[in-house]
């Protein structure tokens, strides 16, 4: 995958994710509408490829106003990933030299890998994740399950233990998928399925869309470093 194609794909996927996020705020207070209506228009412009340099810069500036409005991210990790992708994309579009562009876009890809690896590492370092108690707690009393009907899953001890280890091993082993493109594609499909499950069980729909927007960067980086193995 060429850098130009990966950048264009990122613009489209990021724009679509921002459209989804922005529409959710259009029925909120007037203060939120004032921030998210322009964001919706800019996101459409990004998807269409209109003046992407200036559009992404305007989206970064608007992102800062949104951060200030909510005194931090509105939607935790998904907003942080949104800003990370947006800032990297904006820098890539403004930087004149290809080497610097590759460094910035490579940084985004590295962060995507770390988003899985570090998550897996901190989990496996915690004995409560290793024995299944942590996932039990998430389902039993945390604010995340989207329906009360998901809470009894916590009683299925063997399933919870298996799910905990499946998540930890997948997250820890994700960097190894960089070795070959077919392996990476399989890893990304598994990762997308993981985010889809989180969207269904915990209502984390924004994570699903925004993590997809970072996938072109890792596909490009894999090709750039290893070529097709």
């Amino acid at each position: 995958m060429s850098l130009d194609f990966a950048i264009r794909l990122t613009e489209i996927l990021l724009g679509l994710a921002f459209i989804q996020q922005s529409i959710e705020h259009l029925w909120a207070s007037r203060g939120e509408q004032r921030l998210f209506l322009p964001r919706l228009i800019l996101s459409i412009s990004l998807v269409l490829g209109f003046q992407t340099q200036w559009t992404s810069l305007a989206l970064v500036l608007l992102g800062l106003f949104i951060l200030k409005r909510f005194q931090g991210p509105y939607n935790g990790g998904s907003d942080r990933m949104s800003l990370l992708i947006l800032c990297c994309l904006c820098l890539t579009l403004f930087i004149p030299t290809q080497t610097a562009q590759e460094l910035v876009f490579g940084y985004l890809a590295l962060q995507l890998v770390l988003s899985y690896f570090i998550s897996g590492w901190v989990k496996i370092s915690n004995p409560e994740w290793r024995n299944g108690q942590a996932l039990d707690d998430v389902l039993r009393y945390s604010a995340y399950p989207a329906s009360e009907s998901f809470r009894p899953l916590a009683d299925r001890t063997r399933l919870i233990w298996t799910m905990s280890w499946a998540v930890m091993l997948f997250e820890l082993l994700f960097p190894l998928t960089l070795y070959a493109q077919p392996l990476l594609i399989m890893g990304l499909i598994t990762a997308a399925a993981f985010h889809f499950a989180n969207a269904c069980l915990f209502g984390l729909n924004r994570f699903f869309w925004i993590w997809l927007a970072a996938y072109p960067s890792i596909l490009w980086l894999q090709y750039r470093i290893f070529g097709v193995v």
């Binding site: 907003d79 990370l84 989990k123 009393y141 604010a143």
Partner: protein, 155 residues
Amino acid sequence: MNIKLVGTIAQTLRLLLPALIPSWRFFDVIAPSPRIEFTLLETAHDIPTAWQEFRPRPAELSAREMLKRLFWNPRWNESLFLVSCAERLMANPTEHSSAEIFTRIGAELNQNPTDVKLPPYLQFRLVFLDRQNAEIHKRTTYTSPVQRYSEITSS
């Protein structure tokens, strides 16, 4: 450039930094989990007796509803934001977090579609759920001042 503007810019950049250098420590420990409960009062001096959870989650979700929420999930995302506000209120209390919770409960009450006249004063509290050994414990960690919610304006 005045000092207030410099302060605002510095604070916004401080909020941006964790996005540019993220920690990615999702669910590393399962912390006590907040619930927001509210009560409606006839006067500002009434003693609250009945609290109800704000936006309890549905008993069931169909596969169709889950798929729909993949594209359109504003209420749930707002509820997750309020969970963040509750956590922030405990970790680093600010007027902003308290006002966000008040405003959003008040806005929902002001949209009351029934003809029943609701009491005019609102108070909320934060109840944190935590596991101690095998039991789930609830403890109230914060109770807000009483406020007229019809006077709450969303910004």
